[in-house]
């Protein structure tokens, strides 16, 4: 199959060969480029937000600009970075290889997903032409009905990106059901695949509801249909039900793939069979299932009935169970393993640390009585950044380093990578831990100003954001330096056991010389 030294990168040349490619690995690279670009833009917005909050009163921008920065940071990071992030990049690249397939089930659909993401992103960002959007990423009515007309573009863009997400999920489900190689039973697939499977189920089931919600919002804007407008007899709380029926499960779209990555990292760098494979696999499914009955916890103070509040509060606590199962299993895997502290492993351990803080504060917020105090304060901001950034982005960084040799065929500088971890980890905690205290003291979220009493902690938080930025720059340098240094990567630099490490780095166009056949579990270390 092809000449020696041929791989998926050099088997065809020219920009066109990339833009019309049907190869899942090349599509993954397209996602790498686009998601990292979006991440850069969203990150700049985040730094702007923190800079403005360095001291009270308007410093570098006025309130309107701040609101737009806040909205763009949220919308870009949610819809363009962490939702597509791990599944679209690493799922696309490794899901087929991990189950011994030559490609995903529907390669054309796969490419279409990428184009839809790009198209949706352009439509969203075009809202800047209409005074931007200042509603926050949730587009709550009535703000979104009364405010800038840019909401129409932004929501249409999110709708299109939602379609991209649905198609990716659909593709993954069929791939996992139908394209597993001989011997690759559902009990033998790697845990990353289990995580992607659970994610895909949520993508297919929840995203259509977001689709109809956003379409109704557009109709509301364009024609004033009034379904969410109390002046015409509509119900704004109904909008929140519609929105959170998708958007709560969506936070598990963000975190489940990250958890899958962590399972891979922990077992590889501990050189030990994963503890409780079945428990971790089924807890992914359990999280996906439970995610559909808990959305009301976003609405404790928005006029939802007390009965619903109590029910949702109780159900939300259930999420803690499968999440804790995973955490304990990861720690148990490390116990008496031969842990090597590679950069990816550092990110995995960092994940467990910050995710635990994020998870436990989540239980605090799930308690309806406490949420009345914490709701819409910086406590919530700190909580979801501990879960989303500390969770998903840490896993994304770990995944980038872990699979770098396989994807590009080169090794990177381990020291630089570790340095990026140090900066990101410390910077992250310096940025967001003070926000827990700020929130508990009553600083509301989303405002561009605050009373002088909050100044010190806000300064610490802003300085932390600079540390994170330095960390990501070092990370980028690590990646680029690896390309320049061109140190050839062996097929299996980490001594990992999953199928992607049995083939050459980078893989050939068809992944495998011949269809592989497996007879045991994915992590038979010792």
């Amino acid at each position: 199959m092809g000449a020696a030294g041929e791989n998926y990168i050099n088997c065809a040349k020219g920009l066109k060969s990339w833009l019309i490619t049907l190869d899942h690995k090349r599509i993954a690279i397209l996602y790498v480029i686009s998601v990292l670009t979006f991440f850069f833009v969203g990150g700049i917005a985040a730094l702007g937000i923190r800079l403005e909050l360095f001291s009270p009163g308007p410093d570098v921008m006025n309130a309107d600009t701040y609101n737009q920065f806040m909205t763009f940071h949220g919308a870009i990071m949610v819809f363009m970075v962490i939702i597509p992030g791990i599944p679209a990049i690493f799922g696309n690249f490794f899901l087929p290889i991990m189950i011994g397939a030559k490609d995903v089930a529907f390669p054309r659909l796969n490419l279409l997903s990428w184009y839809l993401l790009m198209f949706g992103a352009i439509v969203s960002i075009s809202s800047l032409l209409f005074n931007g959007v200042d509603t926050g990423w949730t587009f709550y009515t009535p703000y979104s009905i009364k405010g800038s007309a840019g909401v129409i573009n932004m929501t249409l863009g999110a709708f299109i990106m939602g379609m991209s997400s649905v198609l990716t999920g659909l593709n993954f489900i069929v791939t996992i059901h139908k394209l597993r190689c001989p011997g690759m039973t559902m009990k033998n697939i790697p845990l990353f695949v289990w995580a992607l499977y659970s994610t895909a189920i949520i993508q297919v089931l929840a995203t259509p509801v977001l689709g109809i919600t956003l379409l109704l919002l557009v109709a509301e804007r364009v024609m004033g249909i009034g379904i969410f407008d109390p002046a015409l007899g509509g119900d704004p709380v109904l909008y929140q039900h519609f929105f959170w029926f998708y958007s709560h499960p969506a936070v598990y779209i963000m975190i489940l793939p990250a958890m899958g990555v962590i399972s891979e990292l922990i077992t590889t760098y501990s050189k030990k069979t994963i503890f409780g494979y079945t428990a971790i696999a089924y807890s992914s499914l359990a999280i996906a299932a439970v995610s559909f009955f808990v959305w009301g916890h976003h609405m404790f103070v928005s006029g939802q009935s007390e009965v619903a509040g109590i029910v949702f509060s109780f159900l939300t606590m259930l999420v803690g169970v499968p999440t804790a199962i995973k955490t304990f299993n990861w720690v148990a895997t490390m116990y008496k393993g031969s842990v090597t502290l590679k950069s990816s492993m550092l990110f995995a351990m960092g994940f467990i640390f910050v995710f635990t803080i994020g998870g436990v504060t989540g239980i605090m917020l799930a308690t309806a009585g406490m949420d009345v105090h914490f709701h819409d304060t910086y406590f919530v901001v700190a909580h979801f950044h501990y879960v989303m950034v500390g969770g998903t982005l840490f896993a994304l960084m770990g995944a980038i380093y872990h699979w770098y040799p396989k994807m590009y065929g080169y090794m990177y500088n381990e020291l630089l990578a570790k340095l990026s971890f140090v900066f990101i980890f410390i910077g992250f905690n310096v940025t967001f831990f003070p926000q827990f205290i700020l929130g508990a003291n009553g600083m509301p979220r989303r405002y561009f100003d605050y009373i002088p009493e909050y100044t010190e902690l806000n300064r610490i938080s802003t300085m932390g954001s600079w540390l994170i930025a330095i960390g990501f720059v070092i990370g980028l340098v690590t990646i680029i330096q690896g390309f320049i240094r061109k140190e050839k990567a062996p097929a299996n630099p980490w001594g990992s056991k999953t199928l992607e490490w049995t083939i050459q780095s980078p893989p050939t166009h068809h992944n495998f010389e011949s269809t592989p056949s497996v007879s045991g579990g994915p992590y038979e270390y010792r």
Binding site: D235, H241, F292, V307
Partner: protein, 104 residues
């Protein structure tokens, strides 16, 4: 799916029978509605209409959409959508009905 299995082909006559059944149910749902007032179900009218519609839907899914002869997995996939829809409706109604009438 390595084993080869024959794909079931439904006969012409079954197609026609299914169509007739659907038409009959349509006539029934119209006759039972308040437009004719043959039977007064009162508030249960909505429930009756939904039941008949579900029966029709089941016929379309089973025969026209071939789900009766399809694999278990496709059946589970398609029917799961209704399960999650019911979940959505249940929790929304839980909120809205107890909001209108807190004593409920």
């Amino acid at each position: 799916m390595s084993e080869h299995h024959e794909h079931h082909l439904m006969s012409f006559k079954t197609h026609i029978n299914v169509f007739v059944a659907l038409i009959v149910l349509t006539v029934v749902t119209v006759l039972l509605s308040s437009k004719f007032g043959l039977v007064d179900f009162g508030k249960a009218g909505l429930l009756v209409a939904l039941l008949i519609a579900t029966a029709k839907a089941a016929i379309v899914m089973g025969w026209f959409m071939h789900l009766k002869y399809d694999g278990m997995m496709n059946r589970v996939i398609f029917l799961s959508s209704f399960f999650f829809l019911v979940l959505f409706i249940f929790f929304c109604l839980l909120d809205i009905l107890t909001r209108i009438n807190p004593r409920l």
